[in-house]
């Protein structure tokens, strides 16, 4: 398992949201099938989710901090790819967690357990240094995840096509956002859990 690294945060974003951060790590290889053990864990997790929990999840401390951040960033706080609310909403709409393969299922379970939104990107092997950053577009102010000069995704959005996890991906980069007020160790734990689930598959 690769080391968990801290990404850079542009000065504009840092000054606007003190305490914000990015953590990421790399997992060798591309996507794979969901192992039976993880499928079972997801089934058990799905069975524990009730309608009442779906309502309460947004009020839980960690989820609330990410929600507040989305509101402060001008987003609809209820919308956000990979958030705990998004995972639970998916569970309610689909009636369970259908196996979607690794890394999707690994990050679903890790997010469900910790409340931390995680994203997976497909990257080339050339990119193996600490180059992921949180950056704001100077002209529009849009906050993005970047790899060097390339846009990986808009924050809380879907990956840019170039960074989608595909069979051609040489390695995967798992990224987590540290919202202001969230203890970075929890974010790192979420990443470690997701990586462990990816690696053991």
């Amino acid at each position: 398992m690769s080391e968990i690294l801290a990404g850079a945060v542009s000065p504009e974003v840092e000054s606007e949201f003190p305490g914000i951060g990015v953590r990421f790590c790399f997992v060798a290889g591309g996507p794979s099938k969901t192992p039976a053990g993880l499928s079972q864990e997801l089934d058990l997790a799905a069975d524990r989710i009730t309608g009442a929990q779906a309502v309460r999840v947004a009020a839980e401390p960690v989820a609330a901090l990410y929600r507040a951040l989305r509101a402060q960033l001008g987003m609809d706080p209820s919308v956000g790819e990979g958030t705990a609310e998004d995972v639970i909403r998916r569970r309610l709409l689909e009636g369970g967690f259908r196996p979607s393969g690794i890394p999707a299922d690994a990050i679903t379970l890790a997010t469900l357990e910790t409340g931390i939104p995680l994203w997976a990107f497909g990257v080339s092997k050339a990119l193996s240094g600490p180059r992921i950053s949180l950056w704001s577009d100077p002209s529009t102010g849009v906050v993005e995840l970047r790899s060097d000069d390339l846009r990986m995704a808009t924050l809380f959005g879907e990956p840019h096509p170039e960074f989608e996890v595909t069979r051609k991906s040489e390695q995967m980069c798992l990224v987590a956002l540290v919202a202001p007020g969230v203890v970075p160790e929890i974010v790192e734990l979420a990443l470690e859990r997701a990586v462990a689930l990816c690696v053991t598959s």
Binding site: L5, A6, G7, A8, V9, S10, P11, E12, V13, S15, E16, G51, A52, V55, R56, A58, A59, A64, R67, A68, R70, A71, Q72, L73, G74, M75, D76, P77, S78, V79, P130, R131, S133, W135, S136, D137, P138, S139, T140, G141, V142, V143, T154, L155, F156, G157
Partner: protein, 170 residues
Amino acid sequence: MSTTFAATDRTPSPALAEDAILHAGARDALKAQIARIETATVALVAEAHPLALDLAPVQPGPPRLMSLGNLESRRDALALRLEDARAQLTTVRSRQDEARAQIELMLSDPQSYRWLRVSRDELGLPGCGHWHVRPRLGLIGMLAGWWHVKISSGCPLICDSGQRRALTVL
């Protein structure tokens, strides 16, 4: 561990940069207000459960560093939404209180509220039972003025186990 940004990366839009410097305190206050309002809204929604509050949609947009004006309008929109949610909850709660008071009146003087029916739904309770003012012994009670409140326990098939039982019987 972390990378540093090149000098070219440090050039935010002039409007945002000026805004950030001149109104740093105001921006921080607005962001704190936005966070507080959002937290209060979520808490209200959780408190209202199982009643589903109809929250007005918030203008969606990409995640961005907002100007002071945008932060203000965002704060106002969220505050209005919270106010609207509170009003909805208050209206529903007052209707439920009225229904509770109505049941008290029905129980104390059934004769004055003949045939009146209050459902569990009107009280915000789960299930499909109701309180119904009916005559004792049917027609005889109706003619004799023997009225009472009958409490229905609701549909037995509403719960999961009930459904299973019904299926087993079938």
